[in-house]
Symmetry: none
Subunit: 196 residues, 4 copies
DNA sequence: CATGAATGAGCCTTCATTCAT
DNA sequence: GATGAATGAAGGCTCATTCAT
């Protein structure tokens, strides 16, 4: 009953769930599949999670929180807002590229049934939006970004851009390096597409 | 009776399915719900669709095809690529704003289980991507857009931006006019966020 | 509305039902299959038969009655009970051999759900049993058959023997001539298997 | 729990299925009926059998195998082929008489949809035919039965005779002792019906 | 804590029957 | 009489959840 044991089973179940959801999707995944994948009995899962949906929600909370946290940390190392922004895009891609199953779940499966932005994940997504927004605000204040920048819109544009890049990469069987596209995405976002 | 009646039932079922899927999500929607919503008997649905999934696929094919078609038509009226691009963004928002239930389905529900970009919808989404890409290419050739523009990346960035704008609008209970954000999105995409 | 037209549709439906039942079995046959096979609309079938089961019952009544009738007719031409008995066996086989689909239905399909000897067909089967029994009685009286012959048992033995011969023939894909076995069957029944 | 419990549930379901099928027929029996009759939940049935049809097939395999085995055992105790044959007939009747519901299922229900001699039961029926055939062969060799006996035909005749006796007994509400007819059947088969 | 056999509510789909044309 | 689109009751099967061991 030490927390360690608890955490260990909990973690094994979450990790198994990521793999299973990535493979078959949430609704087509069976609790029995997760049990088999995690090497515990079906009943054991219900010692750690009240329902199947709670697995999904918990999985998302934890993974998304880790994702956002790992993004936030590195930005302070960068000297100015444009550099932070480039770093954020690269980091976004690196994290998802390093865990393709998580990427699959986040990009494709977790959008099901309003469960992604709505509901369970709202807080984490919100704090990621806040993170992006704060970089943009800082840039406006520093004079690196234009004064009339509509920060909320720009936040969504950037997030949507990164998200779509990742989705395409996931659906395209990951045949190229996602992080290699980071500069191009940042360029478009920073400088636009129009001729200078 | 013949095609007229056929089309009418078919349409009623599709339209009912859009409403039901928007309300409860695909997996949580019952065929019986669609029957009740469309005012036909359960068995009647199976005269027009082989399975519940076929309703989803057909719905998406038809709606997405209509969506893409209605976007393509207006672009030729615009004088230059930047204008076309602005028009495309505005049109994207207008179409989805005019049919909020369809927007809900496309933005939230149809992403389930790999069914959106993968599989059934690949063709329609692909032709939308082609449409965006052709506007960008044209702009590069005309000199309106920069020569070194990475067209594929930019296409995904723009699509992702519009998509995220719509998702946020849908999830935010549609408390503002989506089309009013079109210029801001286009501005960011065309000119970037950096100070001129 | 003349009886002729009625009879013609009625007959087409019955004949189609024989083929469909022979092919797929009663429970696996759809009323729509019979409609298609007979070239009439589904609704038309219900102008001639109240239910699907009534088709089966009617089919059986008519076919079995015809079968028994066609057997009875020829026996009077034979000179003595042993000859009649041989003729009966041969005739039994000939009739079923000449209409393999009817044979399939009678041997395999019509036994379903107690519908063969029990219920609908009881009368016809009973009169066939009576026919066999009368040949046996006649033979006892004429001295051709033994005095202590248990007629009811012998009737069932003969019927069962012919029935099983036909079933084996049907299930064995009809790779030989059923009628060619008639003499052997009659020999066994008449003389037994023990060394003379 | 292990095999004991497994076998016990398996057996309870099979036995319940025999009763339910005997009562209502295979196609008219509901899986829920079998569940109620066996005192287990519907889902439990599907832990032991993949489909409703598998219940029927398994039931038949097991019962028929037991039937054939219990017939074979006693024959070696008999001194000569005619005695063996009489014993076989008596045993056939005794076994089915001792389990009327099984008899009902075998005689009436299991003939449905080609499922009896064809398909699943072919092996067991075949080995019963072999058993009968071997007694007949032995009798020909020993000189008890006539040299020119057509063994295959005689096998079917005997099986058909016993089968029909049982069917009549089942359908006749079992108002008499089936085994009391064994000698008469054996007499007819051994000595024929013709006057000695 | 761990197990996995047992449960039974729930849903997709089929198809005999009806009835408006 | 003829049609076949429409109906909706019914049933096989699944699977999240429970609980006795």
């Amino acid at each position: 009953m030490p927390n360690d044991a608890d955490s260990e089973k909990h973690q094994r179940i979450i990790d198994a769930a990521v793999r299973v959801f990535a493979r078959k999707g949430y609704y087509s995944s069976r609790v029995a599949d997760i049990a088999k994948e995690s090497g515990v009995a079906v009943g054991t899962i219900y010692l750690y999670f009240k329902t199947k949906e709670e697995i999904l929600v918990t999985l998302f909370h934890e993974k998304m929180a880790g994702f956002v946290a790992s993004l936030g940390g590195v930005l302070s190392q960068e000297p100015d807002p444009p550099a932070k922004l480039r770093r954020l895009v690269r980091r976004h891609f690196e994290v998802l590229e390093s865990d393709p199953e998580l990427a699959e779940v986040i990009q494709v499966e977790l959008r099901q049934g309003n469960k992604f932005f709505r509901g369970a994940s709202a807080r984490e997504v919100g704090s990621y939006f806040d993170l992006i927004g704060s970089v943009l605000s800082e840039g406006v204040e520093s004079g690196d970004f234009r004064k009339d920048l509509p920060i909320k819109v720009a936040t969504k544009v950037l997030f949507g851009a990164m998200d779509q890049m990742t989705t395409s990469w996931v659906l395209g069987q990951r045949t190229y390096k996602l992080r290699d596209t980071a500069d191009a995405v940042a360029d478009v976002f920073l400088a636009g597409i129009a001729r200078a």
